[in-house]
Symmetry: C2
Subunit: 369 residues, 2 copies
Amino acid sequence: MSTTPLAAPRRATITDVAREAGTGKTSISRYLNGEMSVLSPELRSRIEAAIERLNYQPNQMARGLKRGRNRLIGMLLADLTNPYSVEVLQGVEAACHALGLMPLICHAANEVEMERRYLQLLTTYRVEGVIVNALGVREETLRPVGGGGIPAVLVDRSVDGLVADMVGLDNRAAAELGTRHLLDNGFDDIWFVVQPFEQVSSRQLREAAFREVISGVGGARGHTLVLNLAEPAAVERALAELDRAIDADGGPGDAVASVTGNATSSVTVRTGGKASRIALFAANAPVALCLALHLKARYGADWQARVALLSIDDPEWAELTGITAIRQPTYEIGYRAVEFLHERIEGVQATARDCLLPGELIVRASTLR
Amino acid sequence: MSTTPLAAPRRATITDVAREAGTGKTSISRYLNGEMSVLSPELRSRIEAAIERLNYQPNQMARGLKRGRNRLIGMLLADLTNPYSVEVLQGVEAACHALGLMPLICHAANEVEMERRYLQLLTTYRVEGVIVNALGVREETLRPVGGGGIPAVLVDRSVDGLVADMVGLDNRAAAELGTRHLLDNGFDDIWFVVQPFEQVSSRQLREAAFREVISGVGGARGHTLVLNLAEPAAVERALAELDRAIDADGGPGDAVASVTGNATSSVTVRTGGKASRIALFAANAPVALCLALHLKARYGADWQARVALLSIDDPEWAELTGITAIRQPTYEIGYRAVEFLHERIEGVQATARDCLLPGELIVRASTLR
DNA sequence: CTGTTAGCGCATTCAG
DNA sequence: CTGAATGCGCTAACAG
């Protein structure tokens, strides 16, 4: 009774269990590691009982320290606010579960400094590998990772000068798919809207593919509009440019009764006349949302009659609002990333691999005229 | 030269640094812990140099094992797919950053089994505390947490039989606010739509408050519709019931040219006639989205003319679609949760506290007639 | 089959 | 001011 006051119910250790079971720590350890065949049934049940009685739970920190591996991997996300990230995460979690890994999820919230800090933290916690959906930063930040350091696989974007496996959307194909779809549906004036390229390879690839397709089609006009979502003033300016283009275009049908910009009272009658030739191609969901919000504010609830919107990423509101989208195989991206990482952790040496998964075009009313 | 082949660039340990700096481990340890005043400037710079040269990074696992605290806390989320979770997370991260804590984010993905597994995992990693946005499960699962076990604070929902701090929306007030708003705007037939109550206290509280307000107002009719989002068939049935009510209601204006249910060709002319008396009050964003998707599919793009929608939670698409919402102080909820937990970790003994934060009504076109 | 002995990397007395 | 010694909880050789 005088052993331990109820003050701090210190957690039982392997030693406690050994004593309680009247045996040595080794046997307990063996039990914990499933080496059942090496334990007499009798001892085994005594151990079981002791563990139960003491409500013992092995300390992973200590285990990790000893054996040099802790089954932890880091998952560094640039922006959880982007549905893309959450979806990828689901795949990551599933794969981790299947492979006996535990993902430490770190959210950089679009801040380079945060990214650096978390990477450092993951390193000090000796994670066995990291999956990183990097911000657009110099390879420098990722120095401790990849090549010389701990195994890493990149998601969605590659990083200049950083050799590592990478898995993501087949951006070329996706951008082509989207552009062709718009072209095929009679849109010959297409605005590709994208966040600042910075070092984000996926943005660059998407835009390049877009331009390439456009330039290969006579009579089609293509524009690239950079939308710096982090900079309200810049957004304002870019959208103004877009507005001018849309206004100049003259509108969708032959008869537009009225478009007041007041969402609650606009009355628009679409008569099925000649299609609008302008379409917006958003490079990802955040951009698409920004565009949609602006268009709705400017042209009213019926903004979709005025301009078509196609987005890479298929956020939950896409269906609701009827915009066309290219859905990324997010779950699989996450899953594959973990598989790659796992191989790497297990020592596979192959040269850096790229895994490009195809996107799926989901046609909705917005781009059908 | 024969010490370590380039094979496995083993990470430098404190011992390596000590040797490199020509001193003992203790001094390194002191340096790491910022006990600068106890080190001669000379030794100090030697240590600095050695650390730099070896690119040394202290092993947090070992530190944690030794000092008994690892600055880790668990953040268990029921469903990251719900924007609410992501927003709360932002607050959690900010607070952790400020308090020198590292959150381990665990995503139960609505699976009770996952929740149990993660809780167990967090325990074995000896996190100093956990913040849990629990699934609707029995206290049993959370046994290791709270009272006797590791400090815990609940977010959004309390758990029967589990005494712990809890922080979340003032559900009573929020539901009243929403209901009153609808009533004030002429809606006298209100459907409160909510996921199965199970053990989720917030759902119960919101619904109870709704009913209470309704029953206090003569002439107002209130219904509660349970929408089990995990069960497509059940959703189907519930929505059918709703449809009957809406159809019976007769529609919004005096003249409805045509409502075909085909989103791409519906032509509706709203003439500003008498308001529809039916309004839907969604208990949270996932429910609101489900409703909106259904209504759009059934009544066409102009579904909002037919029925009003108000939601607790203000998802990104709310503004776009113009539905009224009650925004939760998500960031603050997360922030406060960490603060509470931190106090607990530091040994504060006060009895379980409840922190109810107010929601903010954001009126949009949907509920204005 | 089972127990003893050494550390894993680090923080902490406790003597210099 | 500084360093040697001790052990956190656990696993991994080695002996019984």
